[in-house]
Symmetry: D5
Subunit: 137 residues, 10 copies
C-alpha cells in the first residue's frame, strides 16, 4: 500500500486553514418549500485565546431556493477551520453568512454545539430568513 495520492505538506496546510468555494446544484423541486438538514459531526477549530482545540457538531437546516448545497465540497469547507483560531459565537455566525451567500436560501439556521471545557458546554443557534419568506409546508 504505497501512499500514492497523498497530499503534500503544503496542500494539507492549505486544506486545513483556507476556506474553499462550496459547490451547489439545482434544487430538484424549486416550487416546493421543503427542509434540508445537514449534520457535521466532527467539527474542530482552535481557540484564539489559548491555541487549544475546540470540538463540536454543526447542524444546518435550510429551505433551498434555486440552489442546494453539495455535500462533498461542504466537507472541505468545514475542514478549513481545523487550524483556524475563532470563537464559538463567531464561527457559528460566519458559517451562516458563508452558506447564505453561497446558495441564497429562503431560510437557514446554523447550530453549533461545542463540547465541554471545564464542565461548561456551549450551543449557538443563528438564523437567516429571506425577507418576506414564511414557511408553509
Amino acid at each position: 500500500m504505497t501512499p500514492t495520492g497523498s497530499l503534500s505538506e503544503l496542500e494539507k496546510q492549505k486544506m486545513y486553514s483556507e476556506a474553499p468555494e462550496i459547490d451547489t446544484f439545482d434544487n430538484p423541486r424549486p416550487n416546493r418549500d421543503y427542509v434540508n438538514s445537514i449534520k457535521v459531526a466532527e467539527f474542530t477549530s482552535v481557540c484564539p485565546k489559548t491555541g487549544l482545540p475546540d470540538f463540536g457538531t454543526i447542524s444546518i437546516d435550510y429551505v433551498a431556493d434555486q440552489k442546494c448545497l453539495e455535500l462533498k465540497s461542504l466537507k472541505y469547507y468545514f475542514l478549513s477551520y481545523r487550524n483556524r483560531g475563532i470563537f464559538y459565537e463567531a464561527v457559528t455566525n460566519q458559517i451562516l453568512d458563508d452558506l447564505v451567500a453561497t446558495c441564497q436560501p429562503r431560510f437557514m439556521e446554523v447550530t453549533g454545539e461545542f463540547s465541554a471545557r471545564g464542565a461548561i458546554s456551549s450551543t449557538i443557534v443563528a438564523t437567516y430568513r429571506k425577507e418576506g419568506f414564511e414557511f408553509k409546508p
Copy 2:
C-alpha cells in the same frame, strides 16, 4: 430446503430497479381526519455520482382521504430503489410525488434520514397539503 419459489436473476433485477404500482384500500373512516405514520427502516439506493450505496430510513405521515396505502405493495415500491442512482433531495421528493399520486391524501409528509458519509449526515422533509385542507383533530 430446496430454494423453490426463488426469483430468477431477471425478476430480481427488475424488482430492484423498476417501481411497481402501489396498492391502496378504502379508508375505513373517510369522515375522520386521523394520522397514519409508516416507517421504512432499511431503505437503500445508489449515489449517482460515485455508484456507492446510500442507506437511510423513510418516514411517511399522512391523513388519508378516500384511499389508504397498502403496506406490502409499498415494501416492493421501496425495494425498487435498491439499484437506482438518485440524490437525497430527489428521492425524498420523488417518493412524496409518487405516494400523493397513488392515494391522493389530504396531507402527506415524507422524511428521508440518510446515514453519515464522511461524518456528514442528511435529512430531507417534504410536505404536501391538499388545497384548503387544515388539520382539525
Copy 3:
C-alpha cells in the same frame, strides 16, 4: 398448586374473541378538565390477510366528562382482540369509537403503534372531540 380457577377452553375462546362491556366509574372532578392517559403495552391481534399475529401498544389520552374508564374491564376489552382479524387503521378507529361510546368524554385520542413487519412499522392516531369542547387547563 392445583389449577383451580382455570378457564374452560370455551371461556378462553370467548375471552379472546368477543369484546366484553367496559365498566366506568364517576369522574371524581367533573368540573375540572384534566388529562387521563392509559398505555396498553401488550396488544395483539391477527392480520386478516395472512392470519399471522400483529403486536403493538395502544395509548389512550382523554379528558373525562361524567365517567372514567375502569382499568380492569378495559384490560379484558383489549384481550378480546387476541384472535380477531383486523387491520391497523380499523382497529385504532374501532377502539376510539368503542371507548367514546362507553364514557362519552370531552376529548379522546387513541394511538396504535404496531411493531415492524419486513422492516416497515405503522402508527395510527385517531381523535374525537366533543362538539364545542376546547381544552383550557
Copy 4:
C-alpha cells in the same frame, strides 16, 4: 448503633396515613413569574379495591405567588399516602387541591405517572390556573 430516634409503632402508623400540614416560605422573587418543578420519585399508595400497593412518580410544576412549597414538609405529606386507599384519578386531583390550598400559586400542574398493572400504565395530569393569570416569561 442503637436505634435511638426510632419512631414508635404509633408514630409510624400516623406518619403513613394522616397528611401533615405542608410548610411554605416567602417567594424570593414575587414580582417575577418563574417555574418551579418538583419531582417525587417514590410515591406509593394502596388500591382501594384490591388492597394491593400502587407505585408512581408525582411531578408538580407551579408558578408561585407569595409562597413557595418547603420540600421537607412536602416529603412527609407524600409519605402519608403510603397506607391510604385511593384511586389514580382521585389522588392526583387531591394533591393538586391540597397544594393549591397551601400556597395559593398563580399556576400549578400535578402529574401522576403510575407504574404498570397487567401491562397497563396510567398517567393523570391536572391543572389549576388562578383566574386571569397568563404566563408571560
Copy 5:
C-alpha cells in the same frame, strides 16, 4: 385488496395451538464450531392457571452439528404456543427439548424472558450439551 390467501378459521386455530414440524438444512461448515443465535421477539402463550396471556422473548444460542434450524418453519413453531396454556419453566424447557430433537446440536441454550406481572418478571435459562462436547473456538 381482496383477502385471497386468507386462512380459514380452522387453519388459524390449528396454527395457533399445534406445533408443526421444524425444517432444517445442512450445516454449511460442519467441521467448524461456530455459534448461531436466534432471537424471537414476540413470543406469547397463555397462563394455564388464569387463562391470561403471557408475553416474552425467546433466545436460542446453539452450535450446530450436521443440521441448522430453518427460520421460517421456526416462526410457525413459535406461533403454535399462542393459545396453549403452559408455565414459564415448562415452556422454556419444552422448546429446548423440541429443538434439540430436531437438529441434534453440539450445544444449545434456550432463554425465556417473560414480561412483568404485578411488578415481578421471570427469566429461565436451560442448556443442553452433547456428551463430551467442549467449545473450542
Copy 6:
C-alpha cells in the same frame, strides 16, 4: 364499581407486616440444571432507625432441585415487608434464608438493589450453594 372484594383494614395490616407461606410446585425438569431468575421491581420496607421508607429491586437467581417458587405467593411474601423495619443487609440475607428453606434449591443468589439516600445507594448480594453442587450447564 362497588369495591366488593376489598380488604378489611385488619387484613391489609396483616398483609403488609406478616410473611405468609410461599407456595412451590414440582420442578418440570428435575434432572436438568437450569437457571430461574425472578426480578421484583417494587420492593419497599421501612428503615428501622428513621421510620422512613426504603425502596428497591430484589432479584433472585436459582437452580431448582425438586421444587420451584410459585410467583403469586412470592408476591405476597414481598408485600409483607411494606411496613416492617429492617436494614438492607438483614433483609437481603433474610430473603435468601426464607427462600432456601422454602424450596431447597441447588443454588440461589439474592440481590437487593436499594435506591439512593443522600446520593448514596447500596446493593447487597448473598448466595447459597448446596454442599457439593457445581453448576455444569
Copy 7:
C-alpha cells in the same frame, strides 16, 4: 511535580465564597438575534438550613445585545457558590439577576436542575425579557 502555582488557603476560601466580576466581550453580530446556550454541569452550593451540599446543573439561554458572556470568568463566578448557603429558588433567580446586570441581554432564561434529596428533585426556570423585545429569528 511540585505544586507550584497552588492557591493559598486564603485564595481558595475567597474563590469558593465571593462572586468575582464576570467578563464580557463584544457581540460579533449585534444586528442578528441569535441564541447562545451555556450549560454548567458541576454546580454545587450549600443548603442554608442543614449545611449539607446541594448539586445541580445550571443552564443559561440568552440573546445577546451588545455584550456576550466570557466563559472562563463565568466558570469562576459559579465556583463562588461552592461554600455559600442558598436555597434553590434564590440561587436560580440570583444568577439570572447577576448575568442580566453583567451583559444586559435582549432575553435570558436560567434553569437550575438540582439533584434528588430523599427522592425529591427540583428544577427552577427564571426568565428575563428586555421590554419590547420579541424573538424573530
Copy 8:
C-alpha cells in the same frame, strides 16, 4: 456538478456482485499480539430463497500476524455481497474463510448480526485460530 467519475452500469453490476481482491499492508508491530476490531455497519445481501434483501452488521476481530487488512479494499469486498443470494450461516463463514486466506492472521472472529424478519433476528459467530496460537496480551 457534472457526474464525472460516475460508474457505468456494467461497472456497478460488477462491483455489486463479484468479490474483488482485498489489499493488505505490513503489520507495524508483528512481534506484539494486539487486537484489531473492524465493524461494518451497512452490510446487505439477498436471501437466496425469496430474493428479498437482508441487512446486518459484520464485525471482525483479529490478531494480525505479518499482514493487516486494508480498510478501503475491505469496503469494496463487502459491497460485492449487495446483489448476491446467500444465507446468514454461509455468508458469515465465507467472510471468515476469505479474510483468513487474505491475511493469514493468528486469530480471527467474524460476527454477523442480521436484522429482524418476522420478529426473528439472527447472529452468527465463527472463529479461526492458527494452530498452536494462544493469546497472551
Copy 9:
C-alpha cells in the same frame, strides 16, 4: 421556616475538611461471604495543584467480616473531602485504607471515577484482600 438547626460557619468548615470517625454495626450474617456495594454519587474534592474542584463517583464493594459500614456516618466521611486538596490516585487509595482500617473486611475494592477535565477523564480501582481470603459464594 426559621433556619434553626443551621450549622455555624465553624462547624461547616470542620465538616468540609476534617474526616470524622465512621460508625460500624455488627454483620448480621458473619458466617456467609456476601457482597455489599455502596455507590457515592456526588463526591467532590479540590485539585491540590490548581485549587479547582474535582467531581466524581466513589464505589465501594466489600465482603464484611465482623463489621459493616454504617451509611450515614459514611456520608459525613465523604463530605470531609469537599475542601481538601488531594489527587485522584491518592484519594482512592486513602479511602480504601481508611475503610479497611474501620471495618477490617475480608475483601474491599474502591473505585473512583472522576469527571472529564480538558476531555480527559480518570478512573482508579484499588483493592484490598485479607490474607488467605478467597471468595466462594
Copy 10:
C-alpha cells in the same frame, strides 16, 4: 478580553505536530497493584494516505510501578498528533510504546476507538506486561 497569552503561529504548529515530554509523579502506593484508567475523548490525527482527519477516543489502563502519568502533560502529548499523518494500528502501538517508556508500568493496555469512515469503524487494543508480572488485586 484581549487575547493575551495567545500562542504564536509557530508555537501552535509545534504544539500540533511534535510530541512533548510527558511528566510523571511518584506513585502514592507503590506497594499495591491498582488500576489507573485514563480516557482521552477528543483524539484527532491525519490519515497519511488521504490527508483527511481521523477522530477517535484513546483509553489507557495501567498498573503503575514507581511512576504515575501526569494528566496535563499527557493532554499536550495527545495534541501533538493533530497534524501528524499516521495509521490506526501505528498510532495505538506508538502511544503504548511512548507511555511504557515514560513511566515503566507493571502493565499497560492502550485502546484506540476510531470513528466510522464509509460505515466502517476500527478499534485497536495493544497491551504491555512487564515480564513476570501477574495482576493479583
